[in-house]
């Protein structure tokens, strides 16, 4: 059985070759394309679990491709780029990426990132008690990953869902950055505050009535984040 279906999107043939060889050897099913446009076509016609997406490509480029993928799908996306700057990372995460790997990377590092991204939160029993949440014009259905804000429906990506359900399972309690990162991404994480910043913002855009004045996803400055249950 395959460990997952991965689509590699990179304009460099050698990188595509290397990715195909290494990932196939680890049990993944791998397909590859050269551009963002081809990736979008491919994603429309076949099912994948994860996209490895190069940022610097001719045509529409990685960032725009990421946005377009995200507008129609909740598939996991890991961005590959040569830039190590914070703002580029945040741009990629903002565009909907789940994680970010800097070129050149080592194969074990990439494999760990793929595992972390495909990794799903192990559901704790108390979570089922809160599978439905209604209040103040917002309804969140954890079972179907559906969110409804004033009649505007949106779906959560897997990682967004994990972040949210981890917080909802521990309502009204401040969860530290490190705890949240390690719970959702894995034990190798803990300092990637920018991930949380971006994911919390993405979630706020989906579940808050006014994302600039959050009533559910509350920041506890310098400590962490907290899910505030609607009092009704």
């Amino acid at each position: 059985m395959s460990a997952g279906r991965i689509l590699v999107v990179d304009d460099d043939p050698q990188i595509r070759r290397a990715m195909r060889t290494t990932l196939t050897a680890r049990g993944y099913e791998v397909a590859d394309v050269r551009t963002g446009e081809e990736a979008l076509d491919e994603l429309r016609s076949s099912n994948y679990d994860l996209v490895l997406l190069d940022m610097n490509m001719p045509g529409i480029g990685g960032l725009e491709t990421c946005r377009l993928i995200r507008s129609g799908s909740e598939i996991a996306v890991i961005v590959l780029t040569v830039s190590n700057s914070e703002s580029d990372k945040v741009d990629a995460l903002d565009a909907g990426a789940d994680d970010y790997v800097t070129k050149p990377f080592s194969t074990p590092e990439l494999l760990a990132r793929i595992r972390a991204t495909l990794r799903r939160l192990t559901h704790s029993p108390d979570q089922t008690q809160l599978s439905q949440l209604e209040g103040r014009g917002v309804s969140i259905d954890l079972a179907s990953r559906q969110v409804n804000v004033r009649g505007r429906a949106s779906r959560l990506t897997a990682k967004e869902f994990d972040v949210l359900s981890y917080l909802i399972a521990r309502p009204n309690k401040t969860i530290s950055h490190r705890e949240l990162l390690q719970a959702v991404w894995g034990p190798d994480y803990g300092d990637e505050l920018e991930y949380l910043r971006v994911f919390i913002n993405r979630l706020r855009k989906k579940i808050e009535l006014d994302p600039s004045k959050p009533q559910f996803l509350v920041t506890d400055a310098w400590a962490g984040y907290r899910f505030q249950l609607p009092q009704s």
């Binding site: 460099d12 050698q14 990188i15 070759r17 290397a18 990715m19 060889t21 290494t22 050897a25 610097n56 590959l80 040569v82 830039s83 190590n84 700057s85 914070e86 703002s87 070129k103 050149p104 990377f105 080592s106 194969t107 074990p108 590092e109 990439l110 300092d191 505050l193 910043r197 920041t219 400055a221 310098w222």
Partner: protein, 503 residues
């Protein structure tokens, strides 16, 4: 921007008229006025003989007309001549300048007083009208100057256009403007005012206006606030104080505008070249790192996969390729960092950070290097927040950690930490390595410098140089304390953020 040292009200008019010409004009008008008096005398005594009362009235009418048409001097002279004529031709005994009846003396002096007062009043009214017309003309000129400057050609220097428009609108024969900042003089008008440069400079330095009636020349400083920024010389035209003041203000405003436009242009050029540099460096990074990515993917895959079953020789050779790829990647990264950072022309993206997260971020970056080494981390929880470019500061700490690891034996620990010191947080990295001699301490921050006994070590020799540039960009300094044989401590300070902003 006040103009001082101007003559008081009596000489309000900055008049550059030729005095001989003026005298000639007055003489002509006096003769004309006397002609009028003669005509009245002839008509009243010979043509239609009238009594002395009617004659007196006719003279008064003539004086009033002269006062209105010519001026004070003309009408005053005419008044005295008319009085003499009135006495000679009409007051008995007629034909003499003597008066028999004392009542006629009263009539004569009443006539003189009336005609002098009337001529004064009417001349004053006329002068006011003329002044008002002059002011109106000046205002119209100032208005047309401002309008012309609003429609200026944006491709030419503003100062040049300002002088040209002043010369054209005010019809000065020569205009010169000296700009203090650029030390350049702009000229316009058919007179070149060639030898005026030193006087213009003088006017700016002394911040004093001067007036030279002989050369019909006026020089005035132009101030912005209290600071003289330029001086203006005009020649061959008339201008009231008020108009001159407005003109000076107008020029000051336009020069200020020119300065700010220049500053914007310079910033724009700098920004564009920075953008180009950045794009170029990104392209280079991409071109170098793409092939390195496939090399690294291949080597690390083989080295990490137990299923690959490498023998010792294969493992050794692949490790060599892998380490060389790492080295090349570091070299490219650091060369690009240095190129970006050098010259201090890069933008800091400051925000508020916990010192602890900066240190842990740097440790994350150096994780592959610190494997198997003893790293003591000591960052107190209650340190204040600092305002820094986190990415760059993490890079600094990472370079220092890398440096400490390289120059100390495998079995010795290194310490990384932070402590509070006034309104700064000090970050330090300490090793128990070979240390640095005093002569070498000044050289280690030089680009490509490597420790004298450690030339075999991996590295680019750019790390400390990059680190120092980044710390300096934050307005702080990176320093070293070291004793050969005992180890080294590198430390730098970071500014504490004012107020507290939330994450």
């Amino acid at each position: 921007m006040a103009i001082k040292d101007h003559p008081p009200a009596a000489a309000r008019q900055v008049n550059f008229r030729n005095s001989a010409q003026w005298l000639f004009g007055v003489a002509g008008r006096v003769l004309l006025a006397l002609g009028w008096v003669a005509a009245v005398t002839f008509v009243s005594s010979r043509l239609i003989p009238v009594n002395e009362l009617t004659a007196g009235f006719l003279y008064l009418v003539a004086i009033l007309l002269i006062a209105t048409g010519a001026g004070m001097i003309e009408s005053t002279i005419a008044s005295f001549v008319a009085m003499l004529c009135f006495n000679y031709y009409f007051l008995p005994p007629v034909g003499t300048l003597t008066i028999s009846d004392p009542r006629n003396w009263v009539a004569l002096f009443a006539f003189l007083a009336t005609s002098l007062t009337a001529s004064q009043l009417s001349a004053r009214a006329k002068r006011r009208t003329m002044d008002a017309i002059d002011r109106q003309n000046e205002m119209e000129k100032l208005y047309s100057l401002s309008r012309a400057l609003l429609l200026r050609d944006p491709t030419r220097p503003i100062a040049k256009q300002v002088v040209e428009e002043i010369a054209r609108v005010f019809e000065f024969t020569g205009v010169a403007l000296y700009e203090r900042g650029s030390a350049e003089t702009y000229r316009a008008g058919f007179e070149d005012l060639p030898a005026i440069d030193s006087e213009l400079r003088e006017a700016v330095i002394r911040s004093q206006a001067s007036r030279d009636e002989n050369r019909a020349l006026l020089i005035t400083p132009i101030r912005l606030g209290r600071e003289p920024i330029a001086s203006l010389a005009v020649r061959g035209g008339s201008l009231s104080d008020a108009a001159l003041q407005s003109l000076v203000n107008l020029v000051a405003i336009w020069l200020e505008r020119a300065f700010s436009e220049q500053a914007v242009n310079r910033a724009e050029v700098a920004r564009r070249s920075e953008e180009l540099k950045s794009t170029l460096l990104d392209a280079i990074a991409h071109e170098f790192k793409t092939p390195l990515t496939s090399i690294k993917a291949a080597t690390t895959d083989l080295l990490s996969d137990p299923a690959a079953k490498l023998d010792a020789r294969e493992r050794e050779l692949i490790s060599i390729a892998d380490e060389s790829a790492d080295r090349l990647a570091t070299l490219v990264t650091e060369a690009i960092q240095l190129a970006r950072i050098e010259g201090g022309k890069f933008q800091l993206q400051r925000s508020i950070h916990l010192p602890g997260s900066l240190v842990s971020g740097a440790l994350r970056k150096t994780k592959p290097l610190t494997n198997g080494r003893n790293v003591n981390v000591s960052v107190p929880e209650n340190l204040p927040l600092v305002s820094v470019d986190a990415e760059l500061i993490q890079m600094v700490i990472a370079h220092l950690i890398d440096n400490a690891l390289k120059y100390s034996p495998q079995h010795t620990p290194i310490s990384v930490g932070a402590r509070e010191n006034g309104n700064h947080v000090i970050v330090y990295v300490v090793d128990q390595g070979v240390g640095i001699s005093e002569e070498e301490q000044s050289q280690i921050f030089e680009k490509f410098y490597r420790g004298s006994k450690q030339r075999h070590l991996k590295g680019t020799g750019m790390g400390l140089s990059i680190a120092r540039e980044i710390v300096r960009a934050h307005g702080e300094e990176l320093s070293v304390r070291s004793k050969p044989g005992e180890g080294s401590e590198f430390s730098f300070s970071l500014p504490v953020a004012d107020g507290s902003s939330a994450l």
